[in-house]
Amino acid sequence: MIYLDYNATTPTDKRVVEAMIPFYTEQFGNPSSLYTAGQEAKRAVDQARKKVADLIHASEKEIIFTSGGTESDNLVLRGVARAQKKKGNHIIISSIEHHAVLNTAKALENEGYSVTYLLVNENGQVDPQDLKRAIRPETILVSIMHANNESGVMEPIRELAVIAHERGVLFHTDAVQTVGKLPIDVADLGVDFLSASAHKFYGPKGIGFLYAKKGVRFTPQVVGGSHEGGKRAGTENVPAIVGLGVAVEIAATEQKEEMIRGRKLRDDFEEALLSAIPEVRIVSRGVERLYNTSLVLVKYVEGESMLLYLDFEGIAVSTGSACSSSSLEPSHVLLSCGYPEEAAHGSIRFSLGKFTTSYHLKKVLIVFPPIVEKLRKMSPLRDVYSYPPQAD
C-alpha cells in the first residue's frame, strides 16, 4: 500500500510500540496505587508528561492527558463554557474548524450559548479584523485551529491570540495537525489552551492531551477519581501515555529534517501534478501551509470515485475530512473558502508522512491522470462552475 493519508492517522512508530508493550504485561500497575508497581507506573506517566511539556515549552502541570484530539477539543470548549458561564455565554470559532470543535460549539448552542462562526478568506484564513469585530463583552472563548486538516492552511494564531487577550478572552487552538509536525512553543503562540492527538504523529490511537495554561479555569468534563490533577478522571492509559512520550521524543529529534524532506517531496509532487492533469487546483497553494498536505480539486469529478480508483491501485488518500467521509456532505472547509458545492465534492487530499518516498509519488503521478481522464469521460458536468480566484 502507498499510504498518503497521514493527516487521517499514522502507523505507530515501532519504537513507540516497543516502549508500550512492557506497560501492558509487566509494569501494569495502576498509577493511583501506593505500592511499588503503582508508583513505577506513576513515574512512567510523569516522565511522559515531562516530555510532552518540553515539546511545547509548557510545564508539566499544564498537560492533561485525554483519550485524543476530539476529547481535548470537547473538554476545553465545554469546560470553559461551564466555568465562565457567569462571565458570558459567547464563543467564537472559525467556520473551518474540525468537527470536534464545530459540533461541540453546536452542542453548546443547543444549551443556550451563542456562537459566532468566523468566515475565512478564499485562501482559508481567518482575518484578524473579523475576530476583532466579533468579540463582545460576553465573549468567553475563541477557538481557531492551528492548521486545517484538509487544506493544511495555517491560521495566524499569534495575531489572533493577541486580539483575544486584549479583550480578556481565553484563546484555544486545535493543534492536532501540527503537534509533532512543527516545532511549537505555547508561550510564543500565546495560547491558553492547545489540543493534540498522538495518532497523528506516529503515536498510539486513543491518547492525546490538552495544554491548559496555569491558572486558566475550566470545568472538568469526565469526573471520578482525582487523576490528572482533578481535571480528567479515569485510570490512566499508561501504555499509551508512555507511547505518546516516545512519539514526542522522536518528533522532537526527527521533525526538523522531515520538515525539509517532506516539503520538497510535496512541492515537487504538486508541480508535477499540475502539469500532468488539466483543470486541477491545489487549494491555498499560495499561502502558508502544512508542509505535508496537498488538497487537490479536480473539476467535473467526484471525490469518492477518485479515492476508490486510487485504492484499486493500492494508494490510500482521502476526500474531505476522514471523520465526515462516511457522511454525504461536501467539505465544509471548501465551502467556507467560497468554492461551489460541486467543487467541494471533488477534492482529494494527499497527506504525506515520514514513510513517503518520491517513488510513491511517482506512482501516483502515473496512475492518477488516467483515473481522472476515465472519470471525466463518464461525467456529464462540463463548465458549469468555476473556482474562486486564488494566489498560486
Binding site: 469518492e304 470515485s305 454525504l328 465534492h345 463518464m378 458536468l381
Partner: protein, 130 residues
Amino acid sequence: MYSEKVCEHFRNPRNVGNIENADGVGKVGNPTCGDVMVMYLKIDDDVITDAKFETFGCAAAIATSSMSTELIIGKTVDEALRITNKTVAEALDGLPPIKMHCSVLAEDAIKAAIDDYRSKVKSPMAKATK
C-alpha cells in the same frame, strides 16, 4: 463497504457515454448534492434498444447507473418503468444504507428519460420526424 458487484460495475461501468439523437434523455440529481446522472435511451417501437449514461458521483452512483442501463436494454418502456431503486440495488447485491439514495437517482433517471421520450413522441414535431 461495497459489494463485489458494485465494485465490479464501478471499475468497469457498462454503457458509458451519450447517444447522439437519443429518443429520450433524462437528467437527474444536482451537482451541489454530489450526484448528477444523465440517461440516454434509444427506443424502437417502445423497446429500449440502447442505453448510455454519464454520471458525476460516488461509486454507488456510477455502479447503479451502469446496472440500470444493463437492466433496461431490451425491455419495453413499460417494463423499464417497473424497475425500482430496490431492483437496481438488489441486482448489485445491495448498497450500504447511506448510499441507498443513489439507487433512487437511477430509478429517477430512467423515468425522466422515458418521460422525455414520451413527450417527444406525443408532440407533433416528434411525429413528423418519424
